[in-house]
Amino acid sequence: MSIEVIGISKTFGTFKALNNVSLNFPDGELVALLGPSGCGKTTLLRVIAGLEHADTGRIVLDGTDATDKDVRQRRVGFVFQHYALFRHMTVFENIAFGLRVRPRRERPSEKDIRAKVNRLLDLVQLGWVANRFPSQLSGGQRQRIALARALAVEPRVLLLDEPFGALDAKVRKELRRWLRTLHDELHISSIFVTHDQEEALEVSDRIVLVNKGQVEQIGTPKEIYEQPATAFAYSFIGSVNEFRGRVDGDFVRVGDEKLRFQTGTFKDGQEVIAFSRPHDTEIVANPQSEDGVSASIKRILGTGAVARVELVANGEAREGRKEFFEVEIPGSDVQSLGLSTGQHVKLIGRRLSVFADQNGTQAAS
């Protein structure tokens, strides 16, 4: 089922959680709403579900306006971060809940309920816990039961609010792979909220990057990773080195130093942020080199194929902390450049991405 979000705004007190958000979720995809905490992604999900009502804007589900319908009528499956399983019911009864609360004439027979719940238990591979209570299950198992419970009512769309947020790293990885497989089987339009970029990149068909109540970028994980559209997108996805300065011809002037950049046209004197991924950043061993920003090596990690070099900026600390850089170079370069801890070097970006520095686009990383 398609989901359309048109011009949604939502304010809590003086805090603008969503600011005129419009989105179109195509049918059958697994979409990630990705953003830092407090960016409004959960609010957006709750507005789509009908658990929260927007101040302005419309929600269109499957071509019909659902703005004024409440959560019961929208037929969405919602999975909560902390599972929200009913503690006093067995796993079986939890999953059967959605079927049992139907009006009498729509309610399936006891036999059908039993069959359906067992089918769902098999789907989430937890048939053997049917008679246990939620408190007897592990976190990962609980979340799978919560998912089965949401699927029992045959929702038109599945909404998951930080579904793996409360789980430990290993279970989380397993479960998100499992979710992907499950989605490929069921093809039910799903939206999940996450602040974990790795999760979003790995699981989703499409990522909606949200920041400060607004959509920053929409794209496939590949697009989002390789072509970040905004300064925020650049700094939020993956690790990145950041240089702030002014445009001066083909260079970005950072303090007294300069970095050559290749793409984009800016007016001279424009304040900009330049980004460079660790693997696109180069170390120049000669600290007297004309190009580059000077830094000193703090640590060299890994001596295999790829070495990671951590550096700090030379000179004054800005806003109480020294700027930190990360560079990935072939392990052999450590030898050939003769790098060692404490050494003064210069950094240049091979593929510098430059964005105008509007105050407030600062990365919340």
Partner: protein, 277 residues
Amino acid sequence: MSGVNKRVLPGFGLSLGFTLVYLSLIVLIPLSAVFLKTSTMSWDEFLNAVAAPRVVASYKLTFGASFLAAAINAVFGLLLAWGLTRYTFPGRKIVDALIDLPFALPTAVAGIALTAIYAKNGWIGALLEPLGIKIAFGPPGVLVALTFIGLPFVVRTVQPVLEDLETEYEEAAASLGATRWQAFQRVVFPTLFPALLTGFALAFARAVGEYGSVIFIAGNIPMVSEITPLIIITKLEQFDYKGATAVASVMLVISFVLLLVINGLQAWTARRTGRAI
């Protein structure tokens, strides 16, 4: 080395010993004195004391009114707790503090205040009088007094559970298609039920033992509005110590059995809802 202490928590012997001594001094020894004194009576004397029509009528009133009062408190205490935890309104803190007042008030004060209001010439009594409803100086008066003193027990046991019950559960129920009533009935209420039962038991136990507030409002008419604690006091005043302890021991046994039943009910629901496995 059989003396090695295998328990992780130290002080088991000390705390068990202390618990037993304390319980004995405060509860068991005084109560067993009641039974000891009673046991000096002959069987006929005992039956005469505890099964006299006037005494039997008082059991019915005491336990009946206590049960009813606890039931009323269970319903309205739940509503109050709900109102206090789920909504914010001006003066909420004050209302919250008022709940505890029946705890703090000397019961005689409560009795006098209630009588003043519910008597024929009182504020509420005067309104009910033309309708032919008489509260003070009769069994309804007993019920009012027992409801008054039992209220905080239900509110205070249910409140923390309600506070812990996140709205997420209701949201989950709603997203699965449950109506508000179904969400309450199938999700909220079963979660609250054990606390409600505890509150009910406490309110009931308190009401059974209540004396001070009831005697002012009850009118204390033999066979009609005389509670068992008053019978005991009356017997004491007539120096009928044996009779008093006999009635007291019957009361004790009934109370104990009832509380045991409620505890059993607690354990049963706990097992059925997965909290005690």
